[in-house]
Amino acid sequence: MSEQNVHEMWSDDDLDLALAALRSDVDTDVARLAGIRGELFGSTDTPAPAPSRTWIRWAAVAAAVAVLVGAVFVVLARRGDDKPVPPATPPAVSPIERIKAVDEPQRPGQFRYVGTHGWLLGQSDTFAYVAETTTTTWVPAQERQDWMQRRTVSGQRKFLFGTEADAREQDALDMWPSGTWHARCGDFLLEQPLRCTGKAYWGEPDEEFMDSLPRDPQQLYDRLSAEAKGGQSHEHRMFTTAADLLRNGTAPADLRLALYRALAKLPHLEVAEGVANLDGRTGVSLAITGSATHEVIIVDPATGQFIGERVVTTIAEAGVAADEVIVDTAVRYGVVDQQGDEPAH
């Protein structure tokens, strides 16, 4: 070792300078990265490939945004279209025609209340359970103002397959975390907002997107048909795409009515009256049966509000038997003066 090295020592600044300079000339090939992104997640120019799924969609039930941690949802293999079955026989006057749609007036400064009580599915390859949750959203009069969402979980779970120990082992007993979140436009848990950015879609709709949808039932049907891809069948996907939008609880009355009338054009739509939601409130039900699940939405005929939904398995799959209820909800609405308030009725 040379003489200088015996007593000399670097300062902290020397060290930082040298660290900053070392290999500072590396290049990042942006095109290569874009290629990697495209292979893994789809390119930025085109929508990412939608995973084929049936039940996985129900991750989104009862919340503006699905929130899951601790375990994965089983992605079921995509199936072919439904086997041909004769169209449901329409009643003389469809109950859908009798649905009225009205919105409770909301003054500036007031909040639209959307409260969903539900049993939601959490699932992995070793267990499946439904957990009781309550998700409430307070929507401001102008969507760019502050929204609030609160979720509470009761701790009640019903195991459809596997045991609590199986779920605990995967740290997945609380797939639906509790919390209170604030966000403008209702983009609560997204890393980058979709609403109010021109990226809104059926599952994350904003006013601009909803304004863009036709109110003519046939035109809306055509739009749904064009944009609903995959699913258990095309009809099934059209139905669930409409349900994705309705579930947000923000669709205006004229759009809700147009959606119900568009769904009425589905060849295999099943319509019934007096169907109860989770909390016992009854309404008109619209339902479709896919190759793995029977899906029901329940509509209050007096207001056209989406007051609940139910999903029942039609086949045994991923450890869950047939005829199990994997999603069951009831939705209440109101207009309140402050975030956190409950409606009087």
């Binding site: 070792m1 040379s2 200088q4 090295n5 000399e8 020592m9 670097w10 300062s11 902290d12 020397d14 060290l15 300078l17 040298a18 660290l19 900053a20 300079a21 070392l22 290999r23 500072s24 590396v26 290049d27 990042t28 090939d29 942006v30 290569r32 990265l33 990697i36 992104r37 893994l40 997640f41 789809g42 930025t44 929508p47 990412a48 995973p51 799924r53 996985i56 991750a59 945004v65 699905a66 929130v67 899951l68 941690v69 601790g70 375990a71 994965v72 949802f73 992995s124 509470t152 740290d171 997945a172 797939m175 975390p177 919390g179 209170t180 848990l189 997204l190 890393e191 980058q192 599952g203």
Partner: protein
């Protein structure tokens, strides 16, 4: 329920929930946000080419293991750098070879104005970097990770702790020890046996 404190808030831009229904969309955004800086960090450690593969692997592993990310436990950046650090372990020898190669260039800076060499060297960051490389090559993997995650990736000690799965206090003490060792052991002047 009362409002949660920021520390408990389970999700925001830095702590997204990754279990949502559109993982490809969400991970696409994650990639756009973090891949360029992650690539740069990895490229400085093992070269640009290997870094491309590591970035790709990191995000593939992240997608596959998205259920393992708990936003309550740390920011997503830490989690991604943690995955990348594990993958980097396979390339330690390549990294060390690269550092030694840089260290060997330290002897070829020219020797004009010999009495001013020390002054010139001190302001010549590139030359100092080359001298540092040899010392970095002597560090243990874990020590190098702590130092470079901090210095190159810009992670805070708490984030480094999350990434490596060790206590934050350990990160701080290790960082202190490593820096002290480097300051004492990185050559202040080129050791040039051939020059003597």
């Amino acid at each position: 329920m009362s409002q949660q404190s920021p520390a408990d808030l389970p999700a925001d831009r830095d702590r997204p929930f990754l279990g949502g229904p559109e993982p490809a969309v969400q991970f696409g955004r994650l990639f756009d946000t973090y891949a360029p800086s992650l690539h740069r960090y990895l490229a400085r450690r093992v070269g640009a080419e290997a870094a491309h593969d590591l970035v790709s692997e990191t995000f593939a592993v992240a997608l596959d293991q998205r259920h393992s990310y708990d936003p309550r436990r740390g920011v997503v950046r830490s989690w991604l750098y943690g995955i990348a650090t594990n993958l980097l372990r396979r390339q330690v020898r390549q990294e060390v070879r690269g550092l030694r190669a840089i260290a060997r260039t330290a002897g070829h800076e020219g020797h004009t104005a010999s009495h001013d060499n020390r002054v010139a060297d001190r302001v010549d960051a590139a030359a100092m970097a080359a001298r540092l490389a040899g010392a970095l090559a002597q560090l243990s993997e874990g020590d190098r990770d702590v130092l470079l995650l901090t210095s190159w990736a810009g992670l805070t000690p708490a984030e480094v702790a999350d990434a490596l799965g060790i206590p934050a206090g350990t990160v701080r003490s290790r960082l202190h020890r490593v820096r002290k060792w480097l300051r004492a052991n990185a050559p202040t002047h080129i050791e040039e046996a051939g020059d003597v």
